[in-house]
Amino acid sequence: MDQSTHQDKIRNFSIIAHIDHGKSTLADRILQLTETVAARDMRDQLLDSMDLERERGITIKAQAVRVRWKGHELNLIDTPGHVDFTYEVSRSLQACEGALLVVDAAQGIEAQTLANAYLAIENNLEIVPVVNKIDLPQADPDGAAAEVAELIGEDADRVLRISAKTGEGVADVLDALVERIAPPAGDPDAPPRALIFDSSYDQYRGVVAFVRVVDGKFHRREQLRAMALGTIFEAQEIGFMSPVMRPVEALTAGEVGYVITGLKDVSELRVGDTLTSQKRPATAPLPGYKDVKPMVFAGLFPTDSDEYPELRDALEKLKLNDAALFYEPETSQALGFGFRCGFLGLLHMEIVRERLEREFDLDLLVTAPNVAYRVRPMNGEWTEVHTPSDLPDAFDEVEEPYIKASIIVPKEFVGTVMELNNDRRGRFDHMEYLSEQRVHLVYELPLAEIVLDYYDQLKSRTRGYASFDYDVTGFRPGSLVRVDVLVGGEPVDALSLIVHRDFAYERGKALVEKLREEIPRQMFDVAIQAAIGARVIARETVKARRKDVLAKCYGGDITRKRKLIEKQKAGKKRMKQVGGVEVPQEAFLAVLNLNEGARK
């Protein structure tokens, strides 16, 4: 096949869909229909390779699969479906010329769909709109189609109506991809450039990069260079997925495939970077590379301090596959040895935590999450603070990350969402009607205001109808203070929080009240104080117990009573000692449940 003709037959596309709107089912159906996978090998949702993904209906790592359809080579580039992975999504989209926008016929557009659809439009992708699940009894294909058409400025007739579950209309989707999406541009004769849109780690072969070749040609055994990071390596194997790895001698402009690098450290190869040939290097990298930084931080401590080495090993292993995960050792005087971990967002944190507990069988104590702060100490240089207790007592300036939040709700909930956002220091940006019923609200909010319970509040106040997405927009100065908690006169580092000055009093008060409930009565009075610097802003006392005896104990009963005492003793060992006070682990999570009390 002539090279340019080959390039003309390529179509690269992604699927954009909200969780549960049927992306994986559609992908499976496409693999089946194109006979990429024999029916007997078909496993539900083949693309999501991690158990956790399949279970939660979330795609964590993007992958790419090549299928053949009527003489064309179609590359389906899977995208992570969640807010925390916006950057990865944007790289995946950049690797494509088109996108299938899949919307549930019963649910309509959701905030994530919207965010990713906008991303696709920004990347000049041809959008092929699809309304899925038309077989459902409650489906409203016309309504959903009208919403989608409105969103992308297309005619509603051009919206395909399918059921990925039954297979109805899926062949039309493949035909539409071929017809509507442009073949990749790119100069096959230019110095080679390929965009890394994803990577994974293979314990035997090292880092595997998933790439879209933009210009030129990449050969096996060639010396390659990652342009942003400068990493140089030999391409040990190159190939494409269909759906398993199929090695080839070369990948050419427009093609999608993988490169086995042999690198042993995922941080040497970052998503968004450009690969080029060492021998005939391109002059400029592809645009858009960003160094993604974690914005949400939490302390991870083993419940049993003996498990610290296991936790360290587990984090090391996770990091191999998750370049965005950040961790550094942290020592808390209250919780002992652990790690301060940085995440892209809340879902990322949840996923890491679950994987640690499930795959590595660790029992963890995760402190309340906080955001990254930028602070300029008195006459000092700007630094980033990841732990509230690290914020200095005195500083010139402090900044916190802000987000642009995108919320879609039925119109009757607009008021309640506005109220919630106002309570959270939100600033209204704009709103628009997606349809007569549904409103898209855009707010600016400090990220700190959503890391604890914002999403739960949003869901409960809108009876589950709201959908939510956000994008970090940058740091802004804030009037912030550090509130410390003292138990028995000693500061408990793990309980410090950074809050807006206006909320300091009520949050401090709510926190000590909550702690009074969580800390069991001891053999002495325990003072619980919230303080800003040396100034105590709230105080509660856990009164000493006055009685703690086993009512009676005679000859027939000694063994049982001894066991009771042993049990009592074991219970105490599970508590953390802070200044001689036994503090149950739940107390360290008290701050997680603060908002409801404090804000009602």
């Binding site: 053999m523 117990r545 703690d548 009512a551 009676k552 104990c553």
Partner: protein
Amino acid sequence: MTSAGEGARHLYVHLPFCAHRCGYCDFVTAVGRHDEHGRYVDALLRELEVESSLLAPRLDTIFVGGGTPTFTEPAALERLLAALPEAEEVTVESNPETVTPELARLLSRNRVNRVSIGAQTFHMHLLDVLERAAGPEDVRRSVYVLRDAGLDNISLDLIYGIPGQSPSDLERDLAETLALEPEHVSAYELEAKPGTRFTHAHGAELERQAESMESYFELVVSTLTGAGFRWYETANFCRTGTAPGGPDLRARHNLAYWLGRDYLGVGVGAVSTIESRRRRNTPGLARYVRALERRERPPREVEELTADVVAAERVMLGLRLDEPLSVVGVERALDAHELERLERLGLAELREETLALTTRGRFLGGGVTAALLA
């Protein structure tokens, strides 16, 4: 302490029969079965005979507990008491309604010199909650009947924390108790043991009043000590003579448990601890009797007590007493760091080779013990 080979100087005899099983009770009991009392006593005496080698030639104490020992058929009870070896203190537990002049004479002529009466409370509505058969009058009458028979060492059991009991109810119970001038008082907070009928019926209420129990315990201790009683064990009080050198009215048998002495227990469900071996007879009445009728030892659970466990128990039991605990030999069971902390908190005092709890420490004895044990 009893040295090895000398034999136990303390004997416990279990008589499981009761007229009714009270809802809160978790002892080994058997309701009614009058026709079986005689057979059971035969079995008991046989066990005593089989195990006689474990007893010292001279006993310090015998305690006949239950059940309701005084509910046992008089003929069977008398046969048992008459067959028991000599001992300096012989205690029998009783329920007030069972104490008749005949019974009192039976006890008295069979060398019983101490009677413990399960009074529990003097309030009818609370006795109903506890499902006790006796009324307040029965308690008073039983004391006089026993005194008339010459029994001059009487202990009254009280229960506090009964669902529905107000602080003034408890004050009156204490006043009524003192008015009867017993030599000894045991006062227990009601324990709602999991799985009992009582917990099922009253668990929620007991949980609600858990916090007020603190003041109840304080009220019991301050009232009784104020009336001249010695708070010699967590739940036990004895009268102290007006003149120094008067009789020691502590329950010597129970004191043996708290001091870690060896004891032999006979009867269904009875526990023995002899030379670091604890064993519990089967709680099944029929199995117990059948085995002994075949001249076999009853089925038993055996627990070997390691040196660590023995030391831990010495601490746990010893700290229930008002007299300091000798730490010699139990150092291994003590957490020195915690001990220091407890001293700082004013809960414990280490003096030379003895450890004592302060008054506040005694109120928190359970927690203090849990903290102290290494």
